[in-house]
Amino acid sequence: MAKVERQKVLLRVNREEHELLIYPHRTLAEVLRDDLNLTGTKQSCGEGACGTCTVLLDGLPVRSCILLAADAEGKEVTTIEGLAEPGGLHPVQEAFVEHFAIQCGFCTPGMILTAKALLDKNPHPTYEEIRHAISGNVCRCTGYAKIVEAIKAASEMAR
């Protein structure tokens, strides 16, 4: 096949514009981690099954390992690094720490972003709604109970 050229891609990540020159076959997860050094976004299964690579695209959780970086152009990308405010952690992050919802930490960025998107849309979810929202994020350590508790607590904090 003909030689593939790098392309200019404009990405807006955590409220900052980035002009990148990248090969078009690169995924958003790869570009976030390798080009922008935002390694809070994890990569694991590479097929969209585990949820560790979750980022927010215009506020909605998506899998960055099965999304071309070029296809994220024109959208607002939020990674875990973009969540904390200058004054401190985001309430969901606080709640995860408070409620021991982190063990190895690998699923945590994806879980927290998914939870944030849920609470933005539905500030006071039921346990059922929380479980449904994180049903695409796999955690092999906690058994999910602490995570669900943390999200519930974050929603109570906002009350």
Partner: protein, 333 residues
């Protein structure tokens, strides 16, 4: 492992997109949501020269009501379909199917067009190159043997789309466009029934719309899906049923569709006919489910044994019929 290199094209208009397809034909692959195709690229199941993204074609999104039908543009996300009030009102089993696709973050980007036109799957084929290289090449990879059904010279891969069975049960039409042409076909005719090339769509055609005729009178529908976990998984067997009631209180139209039970979703004519003109009792429901069971293929090529999945087609067809009947009762009450 990263994706293989390709040229990336992102046309601004539908016309440009159709021209790209007619120029490059089978050398180009289409990315809408990308949730299925990126995995296939990563596993080197496909290796296109060009990848065409539909992201700039904003005309291809949205759900519109037009006379007695609902028109869903091909790039509409599965999430929008799961949550749209008109779909919930008129096409319950379509909303149920959309809500059962993979997991919420995938529904946020996966599209109806991509979900419909996904390729069939097999435990031996949908694997990384490393795993595939550990076994002889199967028919689908250009080899001579089927690894799932020993001795077979045909491919038994399974179509595992969630939306197709419900769309077929509601008599949906698909609009396919190409440079200088346009045709509409029933969604059921998008599938060839051949495991190696399961989709009946030309390589210069683009699916642009799905048209759902709004059924009249009292009707009920249900989509039932077997999977290992209640999230993430593809269906391992499924059934979607549509029923409508005549003024006399008998079933006027019945459509029983089964999915994940062969290379194409199947409208089981015998099962549908067995319910028509009746007020089906439990025995007649069981009979219809038995006919659905008989139409299912059984091969050991997914996460559960073929014989078990085939038996579960009977169970899920029965549940879908019962749920659609209970809709009718509620609507009539």
């Amino acid at each position: 492992m990263g994706l293989p290199p390709f040229h990336y094209l992102a046309p601004q208009t539908l016309k440009q997109a159709l021209e790209i397809l007619s120029q490059h034909k089978r050398k180009v692959r289409i990315v809408a949501g990308g949730t299925d195709i990126l995995d296939r690229l990563r596993k080197r199941l496909i290796n296109p020269t060009y990848v065409m993204s539909l992201r700039r074609l904003s005309d291809l999104t949205g759900i519109k009501k037009r006379k007695n039908e609902l028109v869903i543009s091909a790039r509409t996300t599965v999430r929008e379909i799961a949550e749209h009030p008109s779909i919930a009102e008129h096409f319950k089993s379509v909303a149920q199917a959309a809500a059962s696709v993979a997991a919420p973050p995938i529904q946020n980007v996966a599209t109806i067009g991509g979900n419909l036109l996904q390729n069939s799957r097999c435990l031996f084929y949908n694997q990384s190159e490393l795993v595939r290289n550990a076994a002889p090449m199967c028919i689908n990879q250009g080899g001579e043997v089927c690894l799932a059904v020993k001795g077979s010279t045909r491919c038994f891969s399974v179509y595992q789309g969630d939306l197709a069975p419900s769309l077929i049960a509601f008599n949906a039409m698909a609009v396919l466009q190409k440079a200088g042409g346009k045709r509409s076909v029933p969604v059921s005719e998008l599938f060839s029934g051949n495991g190696r090339s399961p989709l009946s769509i030309e390589n210069d055609e683009l699916l642009t719309e799905i048209i759902l005729p709004i059924p009249r009178g009292l009707c009920g529908s249900s989509y039932q899906k077997l999977r290992l976990r209640t999230s993430l998984d593809y269906p391992l067997a499924s059934s979607s049923v549509f029923l409508s009631l005549s003024r006399k209180g008998v079933i006027e139209q019945a459509r029983v569709v089964i999915g994940a039970a062969g290379p194409a979703p199947v409208l089981v004519e015998k099962a549908s006919a067995s319910l028509t003109g009746k007020e089906p009792d439990q025995v007649e429901i069981e009979q219809a489910a038995e006919l659905a069971f008989q139409a299912a293929q059984s091969a050991n090529n997914l996460a559960l044994p073929g014989a078990y999945r085939k038996k579960m087609v009977r169970v899920f067809a029965r549940r879908a019929i019962e749920a659609a009947l209970s809709d009718l009762e509620k609507a009539g009450a």
